[in-house]
């Protein structure tokens, strides 16, 4: 390589990363949605990355100062509202940590830009990220985000209550496998929950104690009953599966194992109840481990709780859903800032940095090499949950219209759960609503 070439390359590198000026100070804003007290590394990782990037720049002889402004939001709805409105007003933060399902609408609106436009996908650590996660972060074959974490959503059983209705330690040991093979189904869940209530092991309404608010979890039950969310890029409403899914919750209410007014239970109350053995069977996410053991003071997680896939229902198979969060870059006027933001999310995906988040928040890792990092490998929950759940995980589709489908699906579930409509009526209303709002974008069968 000639000397001249070297200088040009160096010059381009200089210009590309820090703009023309030698001393540069940029402020990068990062917002994370759905992030509680255990999820601080979603935004802190960017700060760590900024420190590394500044050092890299210093070695190249540039004076780059990066200020990171962080903001986390505990909820999703408010966060998405804030982001979309900020973006419309031209004030979108540089980096967002959000659910992968936002990629489709936000890419269409031009709110976010492909990370692929800024990053070398063959470079470390992107080349170590799991392929399926990268796929989930893509839209139309273009990589729009970098996976930030992965998780899956298990069923939980309170061991003591299971024993009270006749399960032995060996039975409980074998339960996850029985769920996986399809032998233990959602029908059995209702049976066992009913036994618990009937025998007074748990209070009425606490036999099966589902998530108290809308969330991706509910698509798992649709899948359990044989439903498909998307096929060949088109959304699918399987009416029979949807009805069986609605019926399941109606049955649970009728059997007295789930409360009719369960939706809307405050989250804090819900967490403290499931972590203290007030409920028999419930479902949640891998990150619940962190909440139960940190905030809720559950000392012996594995001694008290068994976990498995979401059991199969009629016509479906056991499954779980992974809802990876992604770092995405918003469209900014200043392209240099976008490039710096891209570098930051790349560095934040370093296995070692990501492991801080994965272990602290009990999420699953995003790269292969994390299993070689002691902090991650030594964590029993990360290891077992990865093995037992991740191979069976599917994800929601990246489809612009999915939000409309989702809102309508939830409306129908809520209406049948609380007895406002029969499942049959709810599904037929859902069909009418989706035909009218989505038209050819959804296949109904």
């Amino acid at each position: 390589m000639t000397k001249r070439l070297l200088t040009t390359t160096a010059a381009i590198a200089l210009v590309s990363l820090a703009g023309a000026a030698a001393a540069e100070e940029v402020t990068i804003r990062v917002w994370a949605g759905g992030s509680g007290p255990n999820d601080n590394y979603r935004v802190d990782a960017i700060e760590i990355a900024a420190d590394l990037l500044e050092r890299e720049a210093a070695i190249r002889g540039e004076d780059l100062t990066i200020n990171v402004e962080k903001k986390t939001d505990n909820t999703w709805d408010d966060f998405k509202q804030a982001v979309t409105l900020a973006a419309e007003a031209g004030n979108a933060p540089h980096i967002l940590v959000t659910g992968h399902e936002d990629i489709a609408p936000w890419a269409q609106s031009g709110l976010i830009v492909p990370v692929e436009d800024y990053l070398n996908l063959d470079a470390w650590p992107i080349n170590d990220i799991y392929d399926n996660l990268l796929e989930i972060a893509s839209f139309g074959g273009v990589l729009y985000g970098l996976p930030q974490d992965a998780e899956s959503r298990p069923f939980f059983f309170w061991k003591e209550h299971m024993k009270a209705i006749g399960y032995s330690d060996e039975d409980l040991e074998a339960l996850p496998d029985r769920v996986e093979s399809g032998e233990y189904t959602l029908d059995n869940v209702l049976e066992d929950a009913k036994k618990m209530v009937d025998q007074g092991v748990v209070e009425a309404g606490y036999g099966f104690y589902p998530r108290p608010e809308n969330g991706p979890d509910y698509w798992q039950f649709y899948t359990s009953f044989g439903g498909v969310m998307e096929e060949d890029g088109r959304l699918v409403l399987d009416k029979a599966a949807m009805q069986r899914f609605y019926q399941f919750f109606v049955d649970a209410v009728e059997a007295g194992v789930t409360r009719k007014n369960h939706i809307g239970t405050p989250n804090d109350q819900w967490y403290s109840e499931v972590a203290s053995g007030k409920a028999g069977i419930w479902h949640g996410g891998t990150w619940h481990y962190a909440r139960y053991t940190n905030q809720e003071g559950l000392k012996d997680f594995f001694g008290n709780i068994a976990f498995s896939l979401i059991p199969a229902g009629e016509g479906g198979k056991p499954n779980t859903l992974t809802h990876p969060l992604v770092y995405v870059l918003t469209d900014q006027e200043n392209d240099d800032e976008e490039a710096i933001a891209a570098e930051l999310i790349k560095i934040a995906s370093e296995p070692r940095i990501n492991t801080l988040h994965a272990v602290k928040s009990a999420h699953l890792g995003i790269t292969h090499q994390q299993s070689n990092i002691d902090l991650y490998a030594g964590d029993r929950w990360a290891r077992e949950a990865t093995e037992r759940l991740l191979p069976f995980a599917n994800a929601m589709p990246n489809n612009t219209d999915f939000g409309t489908y989702w809102n309508a699906m939830w409306g129908g579930l809520e209406a049948s759960w609380t007895g406002q409509k029969t499942p049959e009526q709810a599904v037929s209303d859902l069909e009418a609503e989706l035909t009218s709002s989505l038209g050819e974008a959804i296949v109904i069968r």
């Binding site: 070439l5 979309t84 800024y118 139309g140």
Partner: protein, 463 residues
């Protein structure tokens, strides 16, 4: 009274001719009419900015399919898998979609020339020409791998700007204008027909378009009827029971008790209005939660703890109406009480002398005098209840199962709340427009019902 008449008169009287000439350009300021307009100007600006504009914009947005995905400020042309599917399904141009949408990267002289124009280092261009000229790639990643394999490995950002120039398809490309889209498509396929261009532009456009679809959806959705009924129920119940009915009871009751206790009583009833809405509703929730006061208290009597607010639709309605009603009652109370105060006391004394009971006083003295305040409160509160959202959102959020979903809340849930990040602005605006129309119609009906003209007619006697 006299003073104002003087001003009006002096405005009508012509001032001296010389004076008028010297103030010619500001002449309108010396009339009360002109001054009035000047003084009203700030209010007019505010009314236009915060009342008329939102209504006008709602009217405009209502006839669009605006969402987060389409953006508000305008769209671009993007060739995504979704648009290719539309091109295939709706326009039957599967072959065109295949031809334009398949990612293809070709290292050719055209691209190299573009790189020169971009100012990319000549050595890099030379080595591209030597090493890769004529090669075709099915993905950007493969091409970039080869570019990085060149002897003088360019940095990532340069690689990106190089690979961009060799793209020979429209796959995932984003164009800011129709012209640039068509130009790019023609560069790949010069024989495009006008029909194909039209279809391509229509299917790849990401922005919003004009449509009346929102209203068709509203008319055909089963939810509409339910929510409309909920809204009417909510407004009617809250209005009749609390905002006018209970407010009247409070006003009359406080009229007949001594001033000091009456004042204290009114202040207490004013608390729901002056306390921050979040705290006010939170207190209700603490009362009604299944770990709250009500459950804790009733469990002493063997009643199973439950979330009283969301237990059944009836419970939810009870709480929604009471929570809203307590806030609304205070306003009616103040207005009615002050109107009763304005009734000459001699009328009450005369009635007492004639032996009228309290009820007869209320029936024949108070109520007839309160026609105008009742009209005002009913009218104002109907409109305010129609658009009221905060208490209901915080208390039940429309639950259980959409039982207390009222129209304004439905608008909020549609236009500003979506789990998958795609807010439906256009649809929400259409719903809001319906609410505006309902509001206007109701106001007109009220004005007619209470005979507005008679109420504002000049008094027949001079007081």
């Amino acid at each position: 009274m006299n003073a104002s008449r003087d001003i009006a008169e002096s405005a009508r009287t012509p001032i001296g001719v010389r004076a008028a000439q010297s103030r010619l350009h500001l002449g309108w300021l010396s009339s009360s009419k002109g001054l009035g307009i000047l003084f009203l100007l700030p209010a007019v600006v505010l009314v236009v900015l915060f009342f008329l504009m939102p209504v006008a914009l709602t009217g405009v947005f209502a006839f669009t399919n605006m969402t987060t995905a389409t953006g508000i400020t305008g769209g671009a042309y993007q060739v995504s898998p979704g648009t290719l599917r539309v091109l295939t399904d709706r326009y039957g141009m599967g072959e065109l979609a295949e031809r334009l949408g398949q990612p293809t990267y070709v290292v050719d002289e055209q691209g190299l020339a573009a790189l020169e124009e971009k100012g990319i280092d000549k050595n890099i261009i030379d080595s591209l020409r030597d090493g890769l000229l004529g090669k075709t790639y099915a993905s950007r990643r493969e091409l970039e791998r080869d570019i990085r394999g060149l002897p003088d490995r360019p940095n990532t950002r340069t690689v990106k700007s190089i690979s961009e120039e060799f793209s020979r398809s429209l796959a995932n490309a984003r164009f800011s204008s129709r012209e640039s889209l068509i130009a790019a498509a023609e560069a790949i396929d010069p024989d495009l027909t006008d029909e194909e261009k039209e279809a391509l532009a229509a299917s790849t456009y990401t922005g919003w378009t004009w449509t009346t679809e929102n209203f068709r959806r509203l008319a055909s959705s089963p939810t509409t009827r339910q929510v409309l009924f909920n809204t009417l129920f909510f407004v009617a119940m809250t209005l009749v029971i609390f905002n006018t009915g209970y407010a009247m009871v409070l006003a009359i009751a406080t009229h007949y008790i001594p001033d000091r206790p009456a004042g204290i009583f009114r202040i207490i009833w004013f608390l729901p209005r002056i306390s921050p809405v979040v705290i006010y509703v939170l207190l209700w929730k603490w009362l009604a939660w299944d770990t709250g006061f009500l459950s804790a208290f009733l469990s002493n009597f063997g009643v199973r703890p439950r979330n009283w607010m969301l237990d059944t639709a009836t419970n939810a309605w009870f709480f929604v109406i009471v929570i809203n009603g307590f806030v609304g009652a205070s306003m009616g109370m103040v207005i009615f009480a002050s109107a009763i105060k304005a009734i000459p006391e001699s009328l009450f004394h005369a009635a007492s002398v004639d032996g009228a009971y309290r009820w007869q006083q209320i029936r024949h003295i108070i109520l007839p005098q309160l026609k105008w305040p009742i009209l005002f409160v009913t009218c104002y509160q109907t409109l305010s209840l129609l658009t009221s959202i905060d208490q209901t959102l915080l208390a039940t959020n429309g639950g259980p199962g959409g039982a207390t979903e009222v129209w304004s809340l439905w608008i909020y849930h549609t236009a500003l709340n979506n789990y998958a990040g795609n807010l439906q602005y256009g649809m929400g605006a259409a719903m809001a427009l319906v609410l505006v129309v309902i509001g206007i119609v109701l106001s007109l009906i009220y004005l007619r019902l209470f005979n507005y003209n008679a109420l504002v007619a000049k008094p027949r006697i001079e007081l």
